[in-house]
């Protein structure tokens, strides 16, 4: 049976459920914005959204094009500065960081800088932007990305943003804020967390209709599979309606 929702809608709804009411989230471009806006319109009305250009606690009317767009400080608690929001993140005020990623390894290290050699790039990507800051400072980072073998890599060409670096304790040893790091990875196939002992990517739940084989086949590295794997909830009609309301042009959610 063909599902009556799209993969992007599923990604957005699963991601929104990771967020909690009364907490703060640092949000990147696109799907992370949609997921946070959906959380506010469902279970987390008091989710504090923070944008890197200085938007703090806005009532975002429709999906912004940019994290610096005036929609990111529409009826906001404050229209501030990057220095302010980056500093308050470094000081521990931000619970969740929400990032898109091009490629990751099994410790959740992210590459958004370059494919190939840095000085002779095969493909040049935009670079860190605020991603390294979010991955360094936020207590828990959530990654939203497309899962393919060429994106779930044994070794990324460039570590733009820190995951768990080389494993347990590596972040703290490098000098990054203690006790923070990647928390969830959400792809079109499933929902992942990181194993407490090894800090390696571990399957938490598959999306409806997805098999464990598909999970593994779409990764170059071995994904830890626990005995009990859950299944995510598909988007409800109400959630799908809200997604259209948030993104009326289908900019990120599609048409």
């Amino acid at each position: 049976m063909k599902a009556d929702y799209t993969a992007t809608e599923l990604l957005a709804t699963v991601a929104s459920k990771v967020l909690e009411d009364g907490k703060s989230v640092f949000v990147g471009t696109g799907l992370p914005m949609i997921a946070s806006m959906l959380a506010q319109r469902t279970h987390a009305p008091n989710l504090l959204i923070i944008f890197e250009a200085g938007g703090i606690g806005p009532r975002v009317p429709v999906l912004p094009i940019s994290v610096g767009d005036s929609r990111t400080f529409h009826e906001a608690a404050a229209a501030s500065t990057m220095h302010d929001v980056m500093s308050l993140s470094q000081a521990g005020y931000v619970d969740y960081g929400f990032l898109g990623a091009a490629m990751i390894d099994w410790y959740g290290n992210i590459n958004t800088t370059v494919i190939g050699e840095h000085d002779h790039p095969k493909v040049r990507l935009p670079g860190s932007g605020g991603a390294n800051d979010v991955g360094s400072f936020c207590w828990r980072t959530i990654l939203l990305m497309r899962q393919e073998k060429r994106r779930f890599l044994k070794k990324v060409d460039f570590i733009t943003t820190p995951g768990y670096l080389t494993g347990p304790g590596a972040r703290e040893k490098a000098g990054l804020p203690a006790g923070a790091g990647p928390y969830r990875v959400i792809t079109q196939l499933g929902l992942y967390d990181f194993d407490e002992a090894t800090k390696r990517l571990k399957l938490l739940a598959v999306h409806p209709g997805v098999t464990i084989e598909q999970i593994q086949d779409n990764s170059e590295f071995e994904i830890l599979i626990p005995d009990h794997v859950g299944t995510t909830e598909p988007p409800t009609p109400e959630e799908r309606r809200l997604l259209r309301e948030i993104d009326p042009t289908g900019m990120a959610i599609g048409k």
């Binding site: 005036s70 840095h118 493909v123 390294n132 490098a174 990054l176």
Partner: protein, 339 residues
């Protein structure tokens, strides 16, 4: 103090703090004087070939496009660009061949619109070299160090990553906590262009909406050119002085250019001109298209007023105002492809 590790990125825009103090004393006037001039004169006077240029705003939000177009019109060469939150601004400047070198926090992308064909082509073919990497927070803290007159600022990001390896930062052991800490060097751009909603003829400027990193960048800049939607009487500024983000003595030139951020967004005033940005993204897929674009919109127009007429005139600008104020829905050519 022992350096634990350091990046291999080129250190750009750094000056010894005493050298900078002396430069400021000799070159930055504290005199309250009329700084109004044309954008052509401002670029001619303050943008030598080879300069380190930074642009205020957020890549495609509150950008001095009037400044960007004039740099291109005067065919400035061998510029180094501060790729801080760089989007349409850098794509256009790199596409026009004005920039050889860029330090990258964010560049070569158009956020929701996808990647930037022109600047990606330039970097992938080696025409534009990435001299260092860093993050958005680090770039604005480099400007913070500069505005404070310090050689560096300590931060707790980039550590353990390749972003740090390719940056100009250094890691030491923090003498207080005993933990490794990242030191990011001050950065003083040779010239900064910033677009603001209003300022007076002396340069006292106010910004509506997020200031982004313009508070720090204005103070780090050696030369600061303001383009403004309107020049207001000094009394209007002094009526609400707490609104002033940039006081006059940081400013070297004031240029009145209504809609001077077009096709980028100006908060509360006008939305992105997605039709125009879409045209650039489409044309810039080929070198011929790039040439055609600049011939039409930069070399082929007399001035910014002429350019505004060409992109749709008052009717278009009125529509962009409605979209910005949520009175009309946005549309974009790049949206249609996603259906």
């Amino acid at each position: 103090m022992k350096v634990l590790s350091e990046g291999c990125g080129e250190l750009i825009g750094w000056h010894d703090p005493d050298e900078h103090r002396a430069w400021v004393r000799a070159n930055k006037s504290r005199d309250l004087k009329d700084k109004r001039m044309t954008i052509a004169d401002a670029v001619e006077e303050y943008v030598p070939d080879g300069a380190l240029v930074a642009l205020g705003g957020f890549g495609h939000v509150r950008v001095s496009m009037a400044g960007v177009y004039e740099i291109i019109r005067q065919r400035k060469k061998h510029l180094t660009l501060a790729g801080k939150t760089a989007v349409h601004d850098s794509d256009i400047l790199i596409g026009a061949g004005c920039v050889d070198r860029i330090e990258v926090a964010y560049a070569f992308g158009h956020e929701m619109r996808g990647l930037s064909p022109a600047s990606r082509r330039a970097v992938e073919t080696g025409q534009c070299k990435v001299v260092a990497e860093l993050s958005n927070a680090v770039y604005q803290w480099r400007f913070l160090a500069a505005m404070m007159g310090l050689p560096f600022i300590p931060t707790r990001n980039m550590l353990g990553t390749d972003t740090l390896k390719y940056s100009s930062a250094k890691v030491i052991k923090d003498p207080f906590s005993g933990k490794p800490i990242c030191l990011v060097p001050a950065c003083y751009p040779d010239v900064v262009f910033m677009h603001v909603p209003r300022c007076d003829m002396y340069g006292n400027a106010q910004i509506d909406g997020t200031i982004i990193e313009d508070f720090e960048l204005a103070r780090a800049a050696r030369r600061l050119i303001l383009t403004t939607e309107e020049i207001v009487p000094e009394s209007e500024i002094r009526r609400q002085p707490w609104q002033t983000a940039i006081p006059f003595f940081f400013v070297d030139a004031v240029v009145e250019v209504p809609y001077g951020s077009h096709p980028c967004q100006m908060p509360y005033l006008y939305f992105f001109d997605e039709e125009h940005i879409g045209e650039w993204l489409r044309m810039s897929k080929s070198l011929e298209g790039v040439k055609e674009y600049f011939d039409k919109y930069v070399y082929g127009v007399k001035d910014f007023t002429d350019y505004l007429e060409l992109v749709g005139g008052l009717r278009k600008l009125d529509y962009l105002k409605k979209v910005e104020q949520l009175r009309a829905p946005m549309t974009a050519p790049w949206l249609k492809k996603r259906g």
